[in-house]
């Protein structure tokens, strides 16, 4: 600990310090000493070393108060007449040794005995009174956002907590965490446009993965029985409030199980995260209160369409009738969408999705839109698949994994046909995957959950950017072009 005298001589270089040993932090002080009165604290003479950034300084001549912010929160500093301290600026990072006390107003504080400047803030911080609210600026200088708007920092803390809890929950169930490659030679496992990159020495293009499904299923062939991967996924799509070109998903696979089991597992996970980790039942999401602890509603897709749009697709058995129905409702269909299944999905997206506010599982998807899912045993046109909707948005997608290589090959061929008709979001034909299936993949249930959206739900955020430490932004030039 440098004394005040030492500090003076070092004033020339405010970046010289290499370390500072802390004995406590703002939150620990609050937790341990809030309950004591001014007199009790005066008698205790409890000495602590803390460090952090000066956010506010109020100078009353003989007495000076300052707010010191660390990762855990803010604590007030009380400083007697001290010329050196008075020279500090807002934003400076200091280490402090002092006595815990309460001011006459009852505010828990640390009365500074010694301090050392640990790092100088050369620029002026945004004024706390006016705040730092410009969205563009906030994301470009994210570190200032975290500094000024402590609640933004808390979102990252919740994110960490939720992800570690999911990990813990799965580890308890004996799932194995896996890392599969990000650079892949085939962008498969989902219907999306990939990013392309080039490997100089191998003279070949790689794609950034659009899903982790295919390699994880290859591991089921290899004898892994319960696996998951939490990882970054990349999709070459637009950036908006809900989409970032890279985002985090978790995919979970369990052999010898099916879609229904995965649906139960999904519900169990959401209940666990809400009740046990965040200790709340109700969350505000997308301007709706949603209850995550009740049991989730389960609805077949055609029943949902019947309920919300009044159209009964169980009565529509041929393509002509389905096309007519779409025409009646002015539903525009792309060339590749001219199948009954695609039309059912189009109706669902148009009339139902947005209305599914409370957690709802939609099951029984058309097989045409589910190229990697197994059909129902009793109906080959229906995929044994489900999605979870909350606040009108999709949160999870799961199915009985298609493990029949002959059927999988057919599905890929159908996808290729759709691609020829202009569907850009297509699962590409993956021969190596077919070959793996030919060695026998056990029946398995699979589940994917978008982690970013999950964090949005748990922290009440409407923009994906808020839950990502450094979201992707359009380059500055581009933005100004848009304004012109």
């Amino acid at each position: 600990m440098n004394t005040l005298e030492n500090k003076k001589s070092e004033n020339n270089n405010p970046f010289r310090q290499t370390k500072f040993t802390r004995s406590s932090n703002s939150q620990k002080i609050r937790n341990s000493f809030s309950q004591f009165s001014q007199e009790e604290l005066a008698a205790k003479k409890e000495i602590v070393s803390i460090a952090g950034r000066l956010l506010r300084i109020r100078n009353f001549g003989n007495l000076l108060f300052a707010d010191l912010a660390d990762q855990a929160g803010i604590i007030q500093l009380k400083v007697g007449k001290n010329k050196d301290f008075a020279e500090l600026g807002i934003g400076d990072i200091i280490g402090v040794k002092g006595v815990i006390c309460k001011t006459d107003k009852g505010e828990l504080s640390v009365e500074v005995q010694e301090f050392v400047l640990l790092s100088k803030c050369l620029r002026s911080l945004p004024d706390i009174h006016y705040g730092f609210n410009d969205t563009e600026e906030r994301f470009r200088k994210r570190y200032l956002d975290f500094l000024i708007n402590a609640e933004k920092k808390d979102i990252l803390v919740v994110r960490h907590q939720v992800i570690q809890s999911i990990r813990h929950w799965l580890d308890q169930k004996e799932f194995v965490e896996i890392e599969t490659p990000i650079l892949v030679s085939e962008a498969s496992g989902a219907q999306a446009k990939p990013f392309v990159t080039h490997h100089n020495k191998l003279h070949r293009d790689f794609y950034l993965r659009i899903a982790t499904e295919i390699p994880l299923k290859k591991l089921l062939v290899g004898g892994f029985e319960k696996v998951y991967e939490i990882g970054r996924i990349f999709r070459n799509e637009g950036i908006d409030a809900r989409h970032n070109p890279e985002f985090t998903t978790i995919e979970i696979y369990q052999t010898y199980e099916n879609a229904e089991y995965m649906m139960n597992l999904t519900e169990e996970l959401f209940h666990y995260l809400a009740a046990k980790v965040l200790k709340r039942e109700e969350f505000a999401f997308n301007s709706h209160p949603v209850n995550l602890v009740q049991s989730f509603r389960r609805l077949a897709m055609v029943d949902a369409i019947k309920e919300y749009a009044g159209i009964d697709f169980t009565q529509i058995n041929d393509l002509t009738a389905a096309l007519e129905m779409a025409a009646q409702h002015n539903l525009k269909l792309a060339k590749f969408q001219k199948t009954i299944g695609q039309i059912i999905l189009a109706f669902f997206e148009e009339y139902v999705e947005k209305k599914l506010i409370q957690p709802t599982f939609i099951y029984d998807y058309p097989v045409e839109v589910s190229p990697l899912a197994k059909s129902k045993p009793e109906n080959e046109k229906i995929a044994d698949r489900f999605e979870l909707y909350i606040g009108g948005l999709e949160f999870a997608n799961g199915y009985s994994e298609l493990n029949d290589p002959i059927e999988q090959k057919k599905r890929f061929a159908e996808q290729a046909r759709q691609k020829a008709l202009g569907n850009e979001e297509i699962a590409s034909f993956d021969k190596e995957f077919i070959e793996a299936l030919e060695y026998g993949m056990p029946p398995a249930g699979g589940l994917g959950i978008g982690i970013d959206r999950l964090i949005m739900l748990f922290t009440g955020q409407n923009s994906i950017k808020e839950v990502i430490a450094f979201p992707q932004l359009r380059s500055k030039e581009k933005v100004s072009e848009n304004f012109e």
Binding site: A69, L118, L147, Q164, T180, P181, G223, T255
Partner: protein, 560 residues
């Protein structure tokens, strides 16, 4: 269709379009194989004419088919079951109530000949099938890296015994409902009431006797590698434990795990440090990094690292943490501190690595002076042209090669590699790096010209790299300028100035310790692997020359 393609002919067996000559060659080959098979079958039938069930003969002869023939025959047979659904070869689910490892743990105490009446349900992959007469079948079923015997007796069966057991082949995934027991010979077994095919293996599994050893194929078909080679799974178990240990170690110290934009060019450390500026005092990331470089024994285009940043800590705190983390990890995974490592594979030299803390610490310049018996210029002059001459001379004298650009940093790095790193078998910290080698490290608190940095070497390879982070924005800009200068001289690895990062430093970065570790490399030591591909589930491979064989004719894909 291009003119070239239109000249191709359809190979009716594979459905591929191939040249006329290729088709001729293939048909000839097929004819030969057919003749060979017919001969083999004839001799086989003659040999075993005395044996009972005909199906067994078929099955035994299948083993002599070549892989393509086997695949065609099996696919046809399974295709038939897909249509008749009797049974459905790809059912949706099988309720498992006991894993194979738990089965072994629970019932291994049984006496030879003892049979229980408990009914359990387990599932896994068949690796071995033997018949003994028409009423008894033995299988080995594998799951989670272990195996148990299935002893199927017609008398226990509640289904058509012949029908189901004629169907099942080596490689198939099956579900078994039956009772635990031990054979008279004392082998733990399940005595099935019912066996269900859950997913057939259409390909012939490599024969146990020959195994599946070809490296190239092992990495390309990792799933088959995992099926055939138990050690593969064990290596990945160790890898998972390494990552879990690191995560727990940091979580216990109240670090926050974060993830960043993956940028192909920028290391995540700049982003992480910006978070520390933002008031997140202890952050870490376990994540993928990318390098557009060649693939070799220790390099893959993507690799996994852990980086952490800790406000108010310096390199000496981090050295202690490194010792605690690594020694604790090695102890918890292997049970002790000492490892044997074979950097050139099992037949090459053996290294004894001792992770007992504290680790050895050596100072870079001092050690070089001792080893080379020379006096280096003072640290504050290490960056000068005179020193460049001095270093070039030493390199020439000791025949240490350094490809251009022969900058001071690169020359010194070569000398360190040649004279210090080679001796670092057990974990050794190298400290006292010149500032010019480390643009992001804070200058040494006592010796001008040096910086606060350490590298940890194990088995002569770098595993960790850490600094007391440079947080002085003025100094940082100067260092970036120096790097730009080195880049002009042709050093591709020099770092370019990052304006966003420098701006963030101007808002004040607390004194901070920053640390990085290569997860893949550490896993290589803990699994005694000499090739990084052994510790990556799906390593990047050079492009495939030949096509993956998929027999289209079997599928007859209908086009609606």
């Amino acid at each position: 269709m291009s003119a070239e393609e239109s000249n191709l002919l359809l190979d009716e067996v594979t459905g591929e379009k191939v040249s006329k000559n290729e088709l001729k060659r293939r048909n000839k080959q097929r004819e030969k194989e057919r003749e060979k098979e017919a001969k083999k079958l004839a001799s086989k039938t003659a040999d075993v004419a005395a044996k009972p069930a005909k199906s067994e003969n078929d099955e035994a002869s299948e083993e002599n088919l070549n892989p393509n023939q086997y695949f065609e025959i099996r696919s046809k047979s399974i295709k038939k079951f897909r249509e008749t659904r009797n049974p459905n070869p790809y059912p949706h689910k099988f309720h498992v109530d006991i894993s194979i490892p738990t089965f072994i743990e629970k019932y291994n105490h049984l006496e030879p000949g003892q049979h229980l009446t408990d009914v359990v349900r387990l599932a896994g992959r068949i690796h071995n099938k033997r018949a003994s007469g028409s009423k008894l079948r033995f299988y080995d079923i594998h799951g989670e890296g272990v195996k148990v015997q299935i002893m199927a007796q017609a008398q226990d069966s509640e289904q058509n015994f012949a029908e189901i057991h004629d169907l099942i082949r080596r490689g198939d995934i099956v579900g078994v409902r039956g009772c635990p027991g031990k054979s008279k010979k004392g082998e733990l077994s399940i005595f099935p009431k019912e066996v269900i095919l859950l997913s057939p293996c259409l390909h012939m599994l490599p024969k146990e006797y020959y195994g599946f050893k070809d490296q190239e194929s092992r990495y390309r078909q990792r799933y088959l590698d995992l099926i055939m080679n138990n050690f593969v799974r064990e290596k990945f178990d160790v890898r998972a434990k390494v990552i879990k240990y690191v995560r727990k170690f940091l979580d216990d110290l109240e670090f926050l795990e974060v993830n960043f934009i993956i940028s192909i060019t920028v290391a995540p450390e700049l982003y992480l440090k910006m978070l520390v500026v933002g008031g997140l005092d202890r952050v870490y990331e376990i994540g993928r990094q990318f390098r557009n470089e060649s693939i070799d024994l220790t390099h893959n285009p993507e690799f996994t690292t852990c980086e952490f940043y800790m406000a108010y800590a310096d390199m000496y705190d981090l050295m202690e943490m490194t010792e605690n983390m690594l020694s604790g990890m090695v102890k918890s995974i292997t049970g002790g501190y000492k490892l044997k490592y074979h950097p050139q594979g099992p037949d090459g030299i053996e290294m004894d690595i001792d992770f007992t803390p504290p680790f050895k610490r050596v100072s870079m310049i001092e050690t070089l002076e001792k080893k080379l018996d020379v006096k280096f210029p003072p640290a504050s002059e290490l960056h000068t042209d005179e020193t460049n001459k001095f270093l070039q001379e030493i390199c020439e004298k000791h025949e240490v090669e350094c490809s251009p650009p022969r900058t001071n940093a690169r020359l010194l790095d070569k000398l360190v590699g040649e004279f210090i790193e080679v001796d670092c078998v057990s974990p050794t910290f190298i400290t006292g790096h010149p500032q010019m080698m480390s643009p992001l490290a804070k200058s040494h608190r006592d010796i001008p010209g040096l910086c606060e940095r350490f590298e940890l070497f194990v088995a002569t390879k770098e595993v960790c790299n850490a600094y007391t982070e440079l947080n002085d924005p003025f100094d940082q800009r100067e260092r970036f300028e120096e790097q730009a200068h080195q880049k002009e001289q042709g050093d591709d690895e020099a770092q370019l100035i990052d304006e966003t990062f420098c701006t963030s430093l101007e808002y004040g970065l607390p004194p901070t310790g920053g640390w990085g570790m290569g997860i893949d490399r550490l896993t290589m030591f803990l699994t005694d692997s000499s090739n990084i591909k052994e510790v990556l589930l799906f390593p990047a491979m050079k492009p495939i020359e030949e096509k993956v064989y998929v027999a289209d004719e079997i599928y007859e894909v209908p086009h609606k």
